[in-house]
Symmetry: C3
Subunit: 313 residues, 3 copies
């Protein structure tokens, strides 16, 4: 397969084609095999990945630096980017240009939507968006999609319920857009409190592919029909008004009991961390729950795949 | 020798047998040889060690990440674990489960006693306790024991004085328990202010092996007979009451003068850092002092040995 | 060429000879070739570099850890050194001695002038000064000098204007001293506000080599004659008096317009970060500006060269 990702930026799922996805998924399976047998190898030896997290993270940060090192590459691990040149007054452009001289790719997380895209203009090396404010989180969307397709490899139609803060959750933005163009028929349930509904532009994007959309705030009603229930955290850090946050943080709390009428092979997913009981602990070890197992594991394999595809000639 | 540590947790010295120790010490000598000739090699290439330090550290943290890299492995270096998913409300269980998906082993330091043990229940990969509150510090105890035995290879009897905050010092808890079961006769001097005496359970543990214990607050009286004088810092961070801390922080201050009648080959040891003059600077370069030389160096070799034994089939 | 840097400290440019420089420059060209073709190799495998930054940094820190990893070495990345043994009360001497047991070299940045030099007394392994207060920044001086000589390989005479805070700027201290002894005739312009003039000892050092020095606060007048205009940031963190800082922070602001009468191949350099408009953004992509291109890139190559020379037998 022609490596269409070589040397490319990945800031949004918008530019990913079905054939890109096919390429990434094939490479992901190769990486899974590699990780499970030998842990890794030295294919990216001599290469450096700068992890520039302007907003601190644990999971995504650790997942990327693990992926790079499993392939023999080196890291510039800057989680938080405090006490830096930026505090001395340096522009975002200069910071990006500097790291693009040191490293072979930049993994950027930023609290402001659009900054990773902006970084692409400044950088000489590929930029990967690791989450930008309420914008996108394309690598998460890719491994979530991989996970769903690995579990339902032959299905031509899926009911996928996205639940929680659909307004601010970048994960569900990227995921909805990416799933929409995978070539199979998706019945989306966008389930959120009224004030946290999926943004218009995401809805439009999904509609372009003639996918079905149902909008509701009633999770219970949608459980029985779902193939995937994708829960999300109401992200405190996105609220300016904490009163509003407190009113809705416990809006959805998925429990074993609520799943009584679910399909037997429904997938319970979550981008983690689970912070306010949006999935009750009694589901952590339920076979339907894959947020602490497959979903997480695939995150590592997909990031290994992406680094290999983007960086290795 | 059969590798009894492969894939095992190491959270307490309690489960270590004499034969485990023998295995670790043999491997440590191999590592010493490797480090002194080539620096390291690539035997753990493709493997990842997550250093999850919920309580910040410099020395232990750096020693572990050095050990892993000298053997070719990769690292997730999280010193402090601030600004993390935990702050977003994630449970300790989830954090542990997440990292056990990314990494091949977890090195955990935690301010609360017992948390590394708890982590073993959640983790799919081996957990090593790098110090838990007033609990244990098994890797330190192992290299302290290695250091003592390397210096006194043929002695059948040793007088070992543990000095300072024996109540809160996890290092001396692990060390006393481990030394007690090495198969030679130990005369322990537990030397501390009354309010910082060795906890009952440690005393009981040591007594099980019929070792001699003498309890006193008088360091001067015990110097002449000691083969090892193991000084410890009164740890400010363990005191709720700072008035109490200030009263006793300078209780013991070992100086060259006090050692006038010591045995010629007595070992002055300390787990570092030395913070309140508990060993005076005039001893730093004394041949009897090994806290900045052998003891420290062996810490690196023992940790290399443990990582190799636990991780490599 | 005999490797005169093997196992040596590098804390000041004072001890560097012309032949050392020749050696470093030859190795730098080798590293440039290596980095541009293969990214790096494994020549420092098994070696560990401790980056002990007592004053936080982004650029220098990242540049060093990148250089080490491109050559296959491991890192102890301590940027900021907060929450450490030092906070528990450990002496600088002990901290240095500890890391010199773990690592094969120490890269030290410190807010106090002279501390890296002091570290040499304590350390068993080579110490590299990565910037000490208002003191020196020798690695920056080396790659700045390399950059100038690469651009003017045959010139026997150069006009070099150092501009900005010459009093507190360690970069220009090291650079002036190093350029002075390269064996070609330098006409220095030391351009600064009266209160930020180049320190006497640096001026004396430069004069020893019979170089020409002109002191002025007028940048405009010196532009036409300059081969190199080396701008520096007025460093807020060096001022005790912020009123003074605010008065002069915008003293020099180099713009395209001001360069109307410059030589065609003048080099605009800056150690970065640019923080208060001392170079206007319209110059960032001007062919005369090399602070975001050659100068930065050479920093990486020179640090790779130095690590290789100092560490590899």
């Amino acid at each position: 397969m022609n490596n269409t990702l070589l040397g490319k930026d990945l800031v949004s799922v918008d530019n990913l084609t079905q054939s890109d996805l096919k390429l990434i998924f094939a490479k992901t399976i190769e990486m899974q095999e590699l990780a499970q047998t030998k842990g890794g190898d030295r294919r990216l030896a001599g290469k450096i990945m700068a992890a520039l997290f302007f907003e601190p993270s644990t999971r995504t940060f650790s997942s990327f630096i693990t992926a790079m090192q499993r392939l023999g590459g080196g890291i510039i691990p800057l989680n938080g980017m405090t006490n830096t040149s930026i505090e001395k007054g340096e522009s975002f452009e200069h910071t990006v240009r500097v790291f693009s001289v040191y490293a072979d790719c930049l993994i950027i997380r930023h609290p402001l939507k659009g900054l990773p895209l902006q970084a692409c203009q400044y950088s000489k090396v590929p930029v990967v968006n690791a989450g930008d404010g309420t914008g996108e989180h394309p690598t998460q969307a890719i491994f979530d999609t991989f996970t769903i397709f690995q579990r339902f490899p032959t299905q031509k139609e899926l009911v996928i319920s996205l639940v929680g803060d659909l307004k601010n959750g970048r994960t569900v933005h990227s995921l909805a857009k990416l799933l929409a163009k995978t070539g199979i028929l998706i019945h989306f349930n966008f389930i959120s409190p009224k004030i946290l509904e999926m943004p218009e532009d995401i809805v439009r994007s999904v509609s372009l592919y003639n996918q079905h959309i149902s909008v509701t705030d009633n999770l219970a009603k949608k459980i029985a029909e779902s193939d995937v229930i994708y829960m999300t955290r109401v992200q405190k850090e996105r609220f300016k008004n904490l009163i509003e946050y407190n009113l809705i943080k416990n809006y959805y709390q998925l429990s074993k009991k609520m799943l009584a009428k679910s399909k037997k092979d429904v997938l319970i997913m979550h981008p983690l961390p689970i912070a306010a009981g949006e999935i009750s602990a009694d589901l952590d070890n339920d076979p339907r729950s894959i947020y602490l197992t497959d979903q997480l594991q695939n995150g590592l394999y997909v990031r290994m795949a992406l680094l290999d595809l983007i960086l290795r000639k």
